[in-house]
Amino acid sequence: MSLDPITLSVIQAGLQQVCDEMDLSFSRAAFSPVIAEANDRSDGIYDAVDGALIAQGAGGLPVFVGTMQQSTRTLIRMIADGAAAAPQPGDVYIVNDPYLGGTHLMDVRFARPFYRGDRLYCWLSNTGHWPDTGGAVPGGFSASATSVEQEGLRLPPVRLFKQGRMDRELYAVICSNIRVADQRIGDVQAQAAALEVGAERLGALMDRYGDDTVTGAIAELRTRAAQQMRACIALIPEGRFAATAWIDSDGVVDEPLAIRLAVTRDGDALTFDFTGSAAPCAGPMNSVRATTLSSVYLAMRHIFPQVPISAGAFEPLHVTGIENTFLDARYPRPVSGCAAEVSQRIAEAVFAALVQALPDRVTAAPAGTSGNFALGGHDPARGRDFVMYQLSGGGYGGNADHDGLTNGCSTIGISKAPPVEIMEQAFPVLYHRYALREGSGGAGRHRGGFGLDYEVELRRGHARASFVMDHGRFGPQGVLGGSDGAPNRVTVLRGGVAHVPAHLSKEQDIPLAPGDRVHVQTPGGGGYGDPLTRNPAAVARDVALERYTADDAAALFGVVLRGVPPEADAEATAALRARLRTRD
């Protein structure tokens, strides 16, 4: 049937609303601060036959763009093969297996069949990041795991709710294998209730517009989303754009891992060819297929935010060449770094390739690491154990219009950092500094944003520090003549002696005594364009604000400053810039 464009738009808004309400319901009722505060969750509607993404909540964590499409597709296939139980109304499947269309083990997905009459019409699914799913280290981010079993409990798709009732026996098995299990019931109920809200709202939408109209609209919207993505692709000149991005190491073997990408525009399709990327690695810096695809999708959405998140939008995007690389790891490769770190480097590769084609739309590389620092230990004053996480942001890349944002959140996240005061209330630590990392923004016509510089001391008891970060060896890439941002630096001061992790920003279980300190300096963003073309007044302003030194102004930007507050000396600057240009 043919539908008028207005009905289409209205149904598109309606489907979006269903997903947004699921997102809201999930976050508001969840217990885990990772879900409730950091919005590390996502909700969507998926096709009954091929699991294709119909609509996804606007407030979902970016890394989940498209991942549940892969997991729903896998679930449908397993049901058809008899590898998973057949669905009944009111059932909710739980699954966190990374190799069956997932991310890391902590991202637990629920899927609920949605029926019209007695026909399975579509799937509602959501993902929430649980604070713990067992494994060697609390929270699941092990820097040195060598197989997935060390990372936690792995669940194939099984029905946690059967016809509306929770399977208490299955739940007991899960609870016996994870930490702080007593509060998980709150998250489980919130996650299931969100799907219930979705079912109710989707039912109301279909009652209002009629099943045939909604079905027709979903099919048409898929076509239109593909059309919209193709129109975006048309902005890219025909050709091949290559880039390489690097992961420092896998945490076990200290060797850099390359992501080699060639993006080719051919007609109205875009091919992302990762041939030549590093082989699957021993440590946890592997990615799984679903996460690799979703990283490409989320990078494209950062470039074209107006395209709706839908299977149609992904259709013109072809990802190839990942087989036998660390971007398509298979069981039992460890994967805890895939969503937090590798995904961001894949996005960096996409940005670095496409900024050549779309210099007005794409930025230089952002900090690109989640900055995961975990401190686990015992607090004698409270007589109990604790696990503290500090995730941190860094500088964003410069772009055609502006300098990069300072201390932005990770490429794949949208969460807020916890305040220092809250951290000190909850844990036996004292921060000595929480500051802008001076000089860290990559030089450029528009410089990168600045990273974060913090130093935190253990006050009492004992603890072990673990780091799963990246960009310690290579700074975020500058583009079009801009310089790289400053790389990540981690220093542990034990008994006054500085220790730098062997893998620079990755190491597990470094013992700390009271008075020992951890000093982290997160990456600055990459610079955009030739620094010698930066407005000298902007350089003077940065020096007045003590973001760079006067020496930096001369060496990086070729700007000579005089006076207090500093002002650029036009003549001397022109001369210095001329000299620096000829030196190249």
């Binding site: 008028d4 217990f31 509060q183 019931i185 975006c232 932005g408 000190e424 929480y434």
Partner: protein, 681 residues
Amino acid sequence: MTRTPSGLVVGVDVGGTFTDLVQLDQASGRVRIAKVPSTPANQAFGVIDALNAAEVDLPALDLIVHGTTTTTNAVLERKLDRTGLITTRGFRDVLELGRRTRPQPYGMTGTFTPVIPRDLRLEVPERMDAAGAIVIPLDEDAVLAAGRRLLEAGCVSVVVHFLHAYANPQHERRAGALLRTVWPNDHITLGHALLSESREFERGVTAAVNASVQPLLARYVRRLSGELSRGGYRGQMLVMTGNGGMVSADRVADEAAKTVMSGPASGVMAAAHIGRRTGVPDLISYDMGGTSTDVALIRGAQPQVSNEIELEYAMPIHVPMVDVRSVGAGGGSIARVTEAGLLQVGPDSAGAVPGPICYGRGGTEPTISDANLMLGRLDAGRFAGGDGAAVAPAFARLGAALGLDAAGAAEAVLRMANTTMAGAIRMVSLSLGADPRDFALFAFGGAGPLHACELARELGIPRVLIPGRPGITNAIGCVVADLRHDFVNTVNTPVAALAPGRLAQVFATQAERGHRLIDAETVGIRARRVLHSVDMQFVGQTHLLRVDLDRPDIAPEALQELFEQVYWRRFRVRLPEIRASVVNANTSVIGTRAEPDLSALIDPAGRRADVASARTATRPVRFGTDWCDAAVYWRDHLPLRAAIPGPAVVEQMDTTVLIPPGDRATGDADGNLLIAIGGAP
């Protein structure tokens, strides 16, 4: 010197485009109103213009209540007086680093300008820990040196913001005392004084905003008071604050940050007041103007108050304020066709300049207002400077891409706009734990009454309430507002561990402080009300749920049960295995002022004997795909309790009310219109 009160009260609200004024004569019930252009450079001129336009007799006036956007605009445009920060060593960048976010989920760009620039943020050695114990003593010489350095740098205001000052304010107080010996004026803000709760970014920004707008607000109030007294005014001036209450002009600058979000609050206060008088106390207020639409929730004639409002990206102002959410679209929102061939309305807006095509100021892209004109909902004759005819070609072009004729395209624009707005209103309502169907829609602002009925139908809302003067509702909010003081104390204790009488004690202290503040005001009040609530959560959760209490001495068991009920209603989840915890205890003390008579907001002298004689015209208006002949009425001519079946259009100076087919409007004794949607009672 005392004089006999005249009963004349003026409310004057300065908005982005217009300054609105209403004068109530409490003795005779007579009303005067005025609407004049705002004067952004110095809002006082617009206020004086409005007083002149309404021919207000200043010497005879008792009271002026003033809503101002002086501080809001100053923060948004960063046109702030030079302000310095003195803070804990190692933490001067807290205001710039924020909470590590970005302005939007997708798109790796964005900019942010901190309230105080880095070179005016100085550090001194001092440190408290989270328990309020001193880790590093305050370096007093460093404080004095920092103060002098900031003065040399030209600062006229200073904020002292130390880590954990909410737990122990000793260092901040001492630093404040030291600074007073060198600082030439009163503009010294202590971080803990305005907001005594943890989270250094939010508390710091709130304090920094306060310090940065304080000199400006003090100057503005002084200048305006001077102008008024030159005009012979001898009465009091009160200024609206963001919690919907008001404060004497001579004290408002002390807590200047509380005025930053006061603009939208007054409209919501008016809605609450009118809703209570007319017997519709549960409302969603919907204020649609040219560039934006504000939505708020009112339960039992009480607006929802929040202390977690963000003025814009990374600009939290954490003092209790009426929770008004901006949902984007306004009359100027532009309609376009996307690459996918789908219609999209907003987020781009034609703004005030050039504005919609029909304003005739150079706008070329079709907007929501233009669609209303195209479909006969707005009267082309009312756009004196504009051009109704210029609208049709723009919709013809838009329609060509959609396979629609011009009118069809305009209809599509309104349908999309209403769908999007309804979705946004629904999300606001749900996030505040309310089902919109349980509320009436209170529509105001220049464009609100045009869209209200169709939005209500979309949302399943049974009734719409349109006040007498939708275009000056904020000024009315000023004259109906009460004295109000809000208190929040952190309790952070599981219900099971709550000592008997602990909450009652906190509430009693809060109430006493409120009563004392109200005693200190000279403006007359009729009654006092004290409201108590607690913010609760299940142990382990981070989100809070507000539980209103009908008495302060509630038993812990009853509290747990009450919370579980509220939680079930909101989330449909029961968690009997997890204990609840009380995070905050809140008290509001409200001094209710004399009830103003609003029945003459529309001049009774203009009323005609019957509805038929208020009819001015009949014109074709399009609803859906059909054109029908709608009766057009002039609102000022409608008799009291007029009944008007849709389709109809009610026009008045400040807005146009649209009553679609199937809906039915009925006037009440105050001249409000209550519209029943569809067959609703």
